[in-house]
Amino acid sequence: MFSFTVRRLGALIPVLLGMAFIVFMMVRAIPGNPAQLILGQQASKEAVAALTKELGLDQPWYIQFFDYLGGLLSGDLGVSLKTNTPIAEEVWPYLAATIELAVIAMIIAVVIGVNAGIISAWFQNSWFDYIAMIIALIGVSMPIFWLGLMEQYIVAIKWDLLPTTGRDNIRDPVEAITNLYLLDTLLQGRFDQFFEVVRHLILPSIALATIPMAIIARMTRSSMLEVMRSDFIRTARAKGMRMFWVVYKHSFKNALIPVVTVIGLQTGLLLGGAILTETIFGWPGIGTYIYDAINYRDYPVVQSGILVIAFIFVIINLCVDLLYAAIDPRIKYK
């Protein structure tokens, strides 16, 4: 197990190098000179030329790439062209905002998705099964943009239950320590603010959870159906075991592997794919951070931002692999 983990972590290096190279080339394939975009339409040619030089963008691409790589190896993610701030310093608050949102969204997606999938499989072809699977089908194809705005309009404005945007009450903002606001408010003993943060999390996390929830529900259902047809389930039922335990203990544990895989992949996707939710809910997360950087041709931010997400993605998948062994004793890593 230990040597497996070490080997997998070692394999990270070529993966990240490859990522760095692909992203580096892709960003440069987008037409448009960052210097022109930074200075705007009114800028003189001389100013654009001067800035291009200052940013090192007049260098051949391979020199730029190796400069960037050299920086990465010494732990330097580069400096944002737009704000002139080191990215390593700048990225955490954005990343924390997204992590907080994605974790809550995943909790919602897993709790509801897994249970809906289990119950659907348990009562296959019942009205619950049909309704749950129709909802799941709608869920996967739901435009998040529309869902988010509808949530705001109905829940926040019409019913006046929850706030529309942001991470905290603008009039009483949270003082950031770790930038994970749920944690920060608890550390400061501000329970009123904690509840505000929770209230702000509900709508965006539901919007963000919708698609993974639907995917998890469908995956759980099909995986469960397969397991429930196997012999040991029949045996368990023949023994007279209560159906609840048959489903939740024996079947679910055996159906868990594909479900965990999907959960791992979806969690990774949420980190980078929360752009729409972040845009609508005024959430200052890493998705919008990178998206803005693309529009601005802020090459270092796009490169390092994507690299950070890729890193987390790979780590999550490593955790999923390790979880397999914990779930299924037949799986062993050497």
């Binding site: 987008i30 037409p31 448009g32 000179n33 210097a35 022109q36 975009l37 930074i38 200075l39 705007g40 339409q41 009114q42 800028a43 003189s44 040619k45 001389e46 100013a47 001067a50 800035l51 030089k53 200052e54 737009k82 704000t83 002139n84 700048e90 608050p93 954005y94 909790i107 709790v111 705005l149 705001q152 926040a156 404005i157 006046d160 239950l161 929850l162 706030p163 529309t164 945007t165 942001g166 009450n169 603008i170 009039r171 009483d172 903002p173 950031a176 009123d192 509840f195 505000e196 209230r199 509900i202 939740y248 544990k253 845009t279 609508i280 005024g282 200052p284 919008t288 951070y289 803005d292």
Partner: protein, 535 residues
Amino acid sequence: MKKTSWIVFICILALSTVLAGCGSSKESSSGKGKEESGGTLIYGRGADSTALDPAITTEGESFIVTEQIFETLVKYKEDSTEIEAGLAETWDVSEDGLTYTFHLRDGIKFHDDTDFNAEAVVKNFQRWAQSKDEAKFAYYASMFGGFEGDEGHVIKEVKAQDDDHIVVFTLNRPQAPFLKNLAMGMFAIASPEALEKHGDDFTKNPVGTGPFAFKSWKPGDMIEVVKNDDYWQDGLPKLDGVKFKVIKDNSARLNALIKGEIDLMDGLNPSDLGQVEGDSKLQLFERPSMNVGYLGFNVEKAPFDKKEVRQAISHLINKEELIKSFYEGTAEPAKNPLPPSVSGYNDDIVDYEYNVDKAKELLKAAGLENGFEMDLWAMPVARPYMPDGQKVAVAIQAALKEVNITANIVTFDWGTYIEKVQAGEAPVYMLGWNGDNGDADNFIYTLLDKDNIGSNNYSRYSNDELHEILIKAQSNPNEDERIVLYKQAQEIIHEDAPWVPLAHSKPQLAGIKEVKGFIPHPTGTQSFINVSLGE
């Protein structure tokens, strides 16, 4: 067993948070900051600032904030681009327009408690002029003709005089819009001590003399400024502070306004106007236009080198319809390159009316009665002066079809689009301009003088008579005489038709009814000094 209890725990947690959420909703929605003396205004906008040092940025979202923190020697009036006293109480201009003497106000302090004086002004101008860094101080270079030692540099010398409350500017050549340039937010006076102390980090620790002092910046989220208690104007500002909150999506921002989470917002979708008008708790604000959206011809490319062809196309475009369809009525038809808010606007010009027959006659005179094929470059991004370039292009395409002109719509990403149009590759293109300093020179000379071919004169239009008038107007300090000159200039441009000016758009803002004293400024940024949150 363990797994089930874990799931149950999560369920309980999820439930309890929802319940708690519902329970506390009432107190928070009534908990607006209005109980405090002046209140804190929350301004919602679509993007974050990039730098809070106005001298080094060119981007509007930054100026919205720096306008509160910094002040200029002279400033624009609240609702126009006319000049009034700022940090300088009075000023004299020499007969030849080469010497400007500013008498500074007494007893003004920067937010770091250092004195504002003539020495501070000199240091700021030295910082820009001696930098020779066009990438950093792009606006300085473009408004004052480069840097110290450059041939075109306008400012010869800035000197503090004996009692440290007089600053004398000596110019190399007269520059008529000099005062208007000084009033631009980027030439605000920063604390020299703070500049030295923070170095490159000044942009995150801005220190000026303005009505509000910088407090905090959560990148991508919110910037907060608070009342400057020692502000030199008694009783001002009225607010305790302003928070600039980023909510990217225009509709989501409006939702936040309706909910009362923010007090004021820019970037209202024209299609949401009705919703704001129908809400008794909200009010609309309209920013006077200081922009122009236009259809430009490259006059070096056939057949657009013929005046008749350009005039013919001018007759084919129904501006009223375009505005109704694509600007939702929040614009006025343009007949000049200048917007009406800029002094020198020639209202006597009679626009080319929409008339297909006249267009046909003109094309016949040009020998093109059977039509021709052309590329029409459509703007790829939405700008206030051109909310939907692609759709406008389709409408123009249809209009041209009437006289057998086949227009093929072409587009690129924004950066490439500008580069290519600048290089003269586009025969017919759409673009626009947001005025910088509210002076006619900044529109007509910048966009249509032969000096600016290869730069902002994308039409490559060259007219010697016009050039003479514009140069004369540039160096004439007499405002009335300049107005006459610019009116002449617009007549020449109207006749030559290097553009079809399409529209001057009026960006819309919305706020809660309690917002008082907010006057959107044509330049796009305004001080919140007189704004209050009343009942």
